[in-house]
């Protein structure tokens, strides 16, 4: 399904690091960088060809709209209104007249060109520093025309990376649970979409209840909980082929699955006789290991990115709290000591933080703490929200939020939301239906 995009660097002028614009993403950015995304230039012949294939009148302009939207959504950039641009796209791409762009207060400029070459889509783009008056990067891609949205995402990632110094997260997908129907009889399906909500696709039909899909960071595999034949079990799904299989042969409910960082194991809870413990299963050898052995509820396990530690939640202290242990199950330590209940710990891809859900005095919070439990920071408070999942660069969290019903039990909805690690830039991630349990993929291209 995911076709390879060939990426080749075609010009990369030497540049000096100093003096060039840089965006600091470690603080809440209240003053996003103003930049201009010039529509990508396209000749008439290419225009007609792509219109025929993709049914898009001006694919150059469409790609630049994707870039604009991505950069704006990040909260770090403020794409300027294209009505104000003085220079034509094709000329700007050759050599921008920096004074013209300065005049509209752009600090960076993205230009580019789209061509139809041997039935392929060829896109080149350049990033310019307006104040320094020079080119910062130039890249070209060739791919099948149907990949045009991904080209927009990849350009967004390259610009983000060049300007912030960290990898982007735009050429990614979200797997989630699509929800419909009344709260008492909710129909749930697995669904997948691009990070910006496009290319939505349902992966199951809704005949059985499905919950908590999670991506493998290294392949197109997903693990999730399905009530197929009314037996709640952890399943593995290959989203390329659609093949599904149950994970392991457990005589009871398995749930709360996640992959190990190398993608070779699934870690999950197994519930039997009123007790839930954490187990792993190696996907090649099918060897099952018991990791915790305690009469409490142990669930929501998540590996550290180096695979050496596991965080999970347990009520062994009497209430739900977050614990960290070695991946062997040794040296279990409680790390959450604040007021309230803590659940759904997820280790940041950068390794330094654990995101969690907290319930305190009737409110739900999404927050982060360091892996020893220090430095707790609550990012957002609401009536009900849970289950954060990290963007692959560890800068943004996606989660779901449910609204309270009125006295008649009406007005319920479930939606995906995202928020920056800084606590700023909270926004709804639009989905065609109600949605829950989001999981963010790693970057599809690098």
């Amino acid at each position: 399904m995911i076709k390879k995009i060939t990426l080749l660097v075609f010009i990369l002028l030497p540049f000096n690091a100093y003096g060039l614009i840089k965006v600091d993403i470690t603080r809440g950015n209240l003053d996003p960088l103003p930049l201009a995304v010039s529509p990508l230039a396209i000749d008439n012949e290419s225009k007609t060809k792509f219109d025929k294939i993709l049914n898009k009148k001006d694919i150059g302009s469409e790609i630049s709209i994707i870039i604009e939207k991505n950069l704006k959504t990040s909260g770090l950039f403020n794409p300027l209104n294209r009505e104000a641009f003085l220079q034509k796209p094709d000329i700007a791409n050759l050599k921008p007249r920096f004074e013209d762009w300065k005049l509209i207060k752009a600090q960076a400029l993205i230009t580019g060109k789209v061509n139809y070459v041997d039935e392929k889509l060829r896109v080149e783009f350049r990033l310019w520093d307006i104040l320094a008056g020079r080119e910062m990067m130039a890249l070209a891609f060739t791919t099948v025309p149907t990949n045009w949205r991904r080209v927009g995402h990849i350009i967004s990632d390259k610009v983000y990376e060049r300007l912030t110094g960290e990898k982007g997260y735009f050429d990614t997908r979200i797997i989630y649970v699509a929800e419909e129907g009344p709260k008492t009889q909710r129909v749930k399906k697995l669904a997948i979409m691009d990070q910006d909500g496009f290319n939505n696709k349902f992966l199951t039909l809704g005949n059985e209840l499905v919950l908590t899909p999670r991506f493998n960071k290294t392949s197109q595999m997903v693990t999730y909980l399905s009530y197929f034949k009314n037996l709640p079990r952890v399943y593995l799904l290959d989203i390329e082929t659609g093949t599904q299989e149950v994970v392991g042969d457990f005589p009871g409910m398995t749930f709360a699955p996640r992959f190990s960082p190398d993608g070779k194991k699934i870690i999950m809870s197994f519930a039997k006789d009123g007790n839930s413990d954490i187990y792993t299963m190696d996907l090649d050898s099918r060897v099952v290991d018991r990791i915790t052995n305690h009469p409490s509820i142990d669930t929501s396990p998540s590996y550290s990115p180096d695979g050496k530690f596991i965080s999970f939640n347990s009520d062994r202290s009497g209430y739900q709290q977050i614990y960290v242990m070695e991946s062997s199950g040794k040296n279990v330590k409680r790390i959450s000591f604040g007021k309230g209940l803590y659940g759904t710990p997820v280790w940041s891809p950068r390794g330094d933080l654990i995101a969690f859900t907290k319930l305190h005095k009737g409110k739900f919070y999404i927050g982060v703490m360091r892996t020893d439990g220090s430095g707790e920071r609550l990012l957002t408070e609401n009536f009900y929200q849970e289950a954060p999942s990290w963007s692959p660069n560890g800068r943004v969290l996606i989660f779901y939020r449910e609204t309270k019903t009125d006295n008649e039990g009406k007005g319920f909805s479930a939606k995906l939301w995202s928020i920056d690690l800084t606590g700023y830039n909270e926004r709804e991630v639009k989905t065609p239906t109600d949605a829950s349990d989001p999981s963010w993929s790693s970057l599809l291209s690098n």
Binding site: K183, M253, A271, G274, I297, T405
Partner: protein
């Protein structure tokens, strides 16, 4: 049927108002909970005459209350008499918890009911357990009374 219920509820409200005089701040529902355990009959169905199908739990708890044990003893007696019938114990949680923890909690609640039925002579081969966590509330409200109805273990005939 519906109309009768409404009249009954209205009468209850009037009675409650007379008793409390602070009518405006009290809801009809508050009398249906003890602590935060549901004690009403609104959603209860019956396995047989006089044998309720469900028991209710306090928030985050899987301990059986006195009323729950009484209900389960009735179920056990009925199951001993009807030895061909197998059951599924469906454990549920309210919406005020994380999804995965609630799956475990539902399993724990259903097993609390299972253990009790077993001590009253129902063979474990006749009982299976299924947790729905918070996925199948019986009342879709977001208020303490609705939540109390949803924290339950329901005994369902499997054959």
């Amino acid at each position: 049927m519906e109309f009768n219920k409404i009249v009954k509820n209205a009468l209850l409200i009037i009675v409650a108002c007379l008793a409390l005089s602070a009518c405006a701040t009290k809801k009809a529902g508050t009398g249906q909970m003890q602590g935060d355990v549901y004690t009403g009959k609104d959603t209860v169905e019956y396995l047989a005459s006089g044998v309720p199908d469900r028991v209710f739990f306090a928030t985050n708890e899987s301990v059986l209350t006195t009323a729950s044990r009484e209900t389960l003893r009735k179920q056990a007696a009925w199951l001993r008499k009807n030895s061909k019938i197998n059951i599924v114990l469906e454990g549920h949680a309210d919406e005020r918890g994380t999804r995965e923890y609630n799956l475990a909690l539902g399993e724990r609640r259903a097993n609390a009911a299972k253990d009790y039925l077993m001590t009253y002579g129902v063979s474990s081969d006749r009982i299976s357990v299924l947790s729905y966590g918070k996925e199948r509330p019986v009342d879709s409200g977001s208020n303490p009374l609705s939540w109390s109805k949803n924290r339950r273990s329901v005994t369902v005939k499997a054959n």
